[in-house]
Amino acid sequence: MAEQDNPQKSQERIGVYVCHCGSNIAGTVDVEEVHRWAAERLEQDGVVVARDYKFMCSSLGQELIERDIKNEGLTRVVVAACSPHLHEATFREATKQGGLNPYLCELVSIREQVSWVHSDKQKATEKAKAVVAGGVRRVIHNVPLEPMRVPIHPDVLIVGGGVTGIQAALELANGGKHVYLVERDSTIGGHMAQLDKTFPTLDCSACILTPRMVSAGNHRNITLLTWSEVTDVSGYVGNFTVTIRKKARYINTNLCTGCGVCSEKCPKKVIDDNFEAGLGYRKAVYTSFPQAVPKYPVIDVENCTYFLKGTCKACERFCPPGAIDFTQKDEFITVPVGNIILATGYQTFDPRRIPQYGYGRLANVFTSMEFERLSNSAGPTGGKVVLRDGKTTPRAVGIIHCVGSRDRKYNNYCSAICCMQSLKFAHIVKERTGADVYEFYIDMRTPGKSYDEFYQRNLEEGVLFVRGRVAEVTDAARLPGEEGKLIIQAEDTLIGKQRRIPVDMVILSTALEPRSDYEEVGKLFGISCSTDGWFIERHVKLDPVATMTEGVFIAGCAVGPKDVPASVSQGSAVAARVFQYIQQGEIALEPYRATIDQEKCSGCRICNDMCPFRAILFHEDLMVSEVNPALCQGCGTCVAACPAGAIAGSGFSDEQILAQIEGLMLIDQEQAQPVEAGL
């Protein structure tokens, strides 16, 4: 019966290539059976070559296609492998190398949509056959297309002014490209500016970061937009239009000298939940820290007495250049950029979610970020490691790893930095207080240059390691020596016994988490996030800073937990990746566009209002509609809407899709009537 649908043998000469992808596909799909079936069963459809190969995306795999086009005279190519989002470009290029128009190649997914989501090998093989048949039937109707070329705007938007964003900005700016560096906070620097030391070399974090911050702040190719947020993104790769909200600082930055008198005179003291991690205070008009870039303060309207009660204005009275401006309003600016880099970083896990660790209830339980500020010489205690009373030096300290990481109730993943961070804390506590330090870990993970050596150093320094995830921290003493202490209860798994270790201070090495607004950010920039909330790379290994959305790139902890060296590497990598685009000057876009056959057009104008890009215009004189290809984005809605069938959509034509549906159902007809099919 299937034959009756296609009484004539197809004129095309089609090559079918089934990829094993190692065992990724071949483990679940009988690839040999698929190519054998395609050769026999789809011969009528024009299949003249059908092969399977270990890795079709390898150069040898690609050469296979090129060679067959030349030697076998193929006119169409179908590759059954991974998702088109991964390797469509690869196989089109191979097709082009073989001498065919690249759009005569069709990639159908039997990995993401077959082998990885199914486990029954026989059924998966049958489905793979259906998918291949769909591709073959479809490709017959493919027509040669030429990609559209659009120029790339050389300016770049970087969102996030942490160490990753700064690195990327400097790389691009030093290379002569103009960068808009947008930072939500009042200063750039990110989390790294809060840290005391960086492992494993123990360089002072501020000492290595602040020169970079200053360079970024002064660079003539960098437009620094702090206290600002991106509110809208439109356009596409090469031609984005970005709207940025510059929040009111209430400071005239043209006049402000950054002298700090306003903060000094401000009578309102506020707990600094942001930079000081809640462990110190700031004023209602403040700069987060002395080396902040830019140096301009901001007024916190939620706490400023003037904004709350209408009086005070102490800052205004004392400001030498008269830079305080209570009338300032948010300002919106729009900039054109060609590429966007998201380096929006992470937030730390809130350990109140694990009540048995007592954070917030037991005074001397600290988070890792609190300890960073506590040990920082510019922090609230001037770097003295003391208990929350502000004066007592602890004699015993327990450090708990994996707080909020590696736990199905919170985050499944390993936060990657906590082991090294905890070792750093242990070293600092030892060095500054001589206290006994206990590290409670599940597994010690120190892969990195000189990282394990740092572990060794801690061992030498007498840090006591207990392999066991802490069960609870309590102040309920029950044994001698526990009175007035915090007791850490855990199984020491290496001796198989429960232990209770009394300490004065507990530090929770809290997990790194995606920013709570990751979903909105992902939506705003049109990129996707993993179920955990990290942005997804185009390819996790081979293209780790690009995304599936052309022109939008990601780097640093927004992609997943990372330490400083890894973040900086990604900052450089993403800059190089963007450079490549800018230097090309233009980019090829998929030539998927709608066209109207004016002969068939009845002038009903239904399509006119369908198009959100206003790409369809109506010729009043001729009473027909026409598509402007420069504005058309290729969604195909008008194609489906045209009652006269006068609109054609290239790349996804009715013929292609209808043929693909037929192809997908071919195998069922065969099973229903195997004899009649007359194989």
Binding site: K409, I442, G496
Partner: protein
């Protein structure tokens, strides 16, 4: 064909880990244990166990059936469920302890006359014979058999106190539908026997 084990036989014979998991209701996730020790650290009676729960899970993986089923670990579980709610891998630890107890009894690994297995068996006997728990009978039988009243003289006093304060009955109460209950319990044991 040689005498080597046939592949099907290899496949059908469950190892101890699989056997324990199969005998536990729902998905116990035992195979997911990462040996972190949260259970052993949280357990109120782990100091008195032969092995901490974490160790027991390692031993199950090592196929140490007899050592696992002879140990007192499961019997010392008080069902406080701290381990279950704290386990980062969401292993159903308390449920697994119930499984180990019943496996130990069924496979004959409990030493007779230990206070722990006797307690369960006596308790269940009353439930089966009366449909209700019977504190007086339980306490006296358990007390006579296992508790040195010389060592804990207060226990006798406690029993008297329970009686005088009217908090304990001298005779068990039998439910009206006992016959039906026994039929239900017998049938349940039969079904379980068939499926094993």
């Amino acid at each position: 064909m040689n005498d080597a084990l046939q592949p099907e036989e290899v496949q059908t014979k469950l190892n101890f880990l699989e056997e324990v998991m199969q005998a536990t209701p729902g998905d116990s996730r035992l195979e997911m244990c990462i040996q972190c020790g949260t259970c052993g650290g949280s357990c109120p009676s782990s100091p008195d166990m032969d092995h901490t729960p974490r160790t027991i899970f390692a031993m199950i993986r090592a196929d140490m059936r007899e050592a696992v089923l002879r140990s007192n670990t499961a019997w010392f579980c008080i069902s406080c469920y701290y381990c279950t709610v704290r386990c980062p891998q969401e292993v159903h630890i308390t449920d697994l302890m119930y499984t180990l107890k019943s496996m130990a009894v069924r496979q004959g690994f409990t030493q007779p006359n230990t206070p722990w297995s006797d307690w369960s068996l006596t308790f269940n006997e009353y439930v089966y014979n009366y449909g209700r728990a019977f504190e007086f009978g339980l306490a006296t039988r358990q007390g006579l058999r296992h508790t040195s009243l010389l060592k804990y003289p207060g226990l006798a006093q406690l029993g008297m106190g329970m009686l005088t304060k009217g908090r304990m009955n001298l005779t068990p109460r039998r439910i009206e539908g006992l016959e039906g209950l026994q039929k239900i319990l017998n049938r349940a044991d039969e079904i379980e026997g068939e499926s094993q």
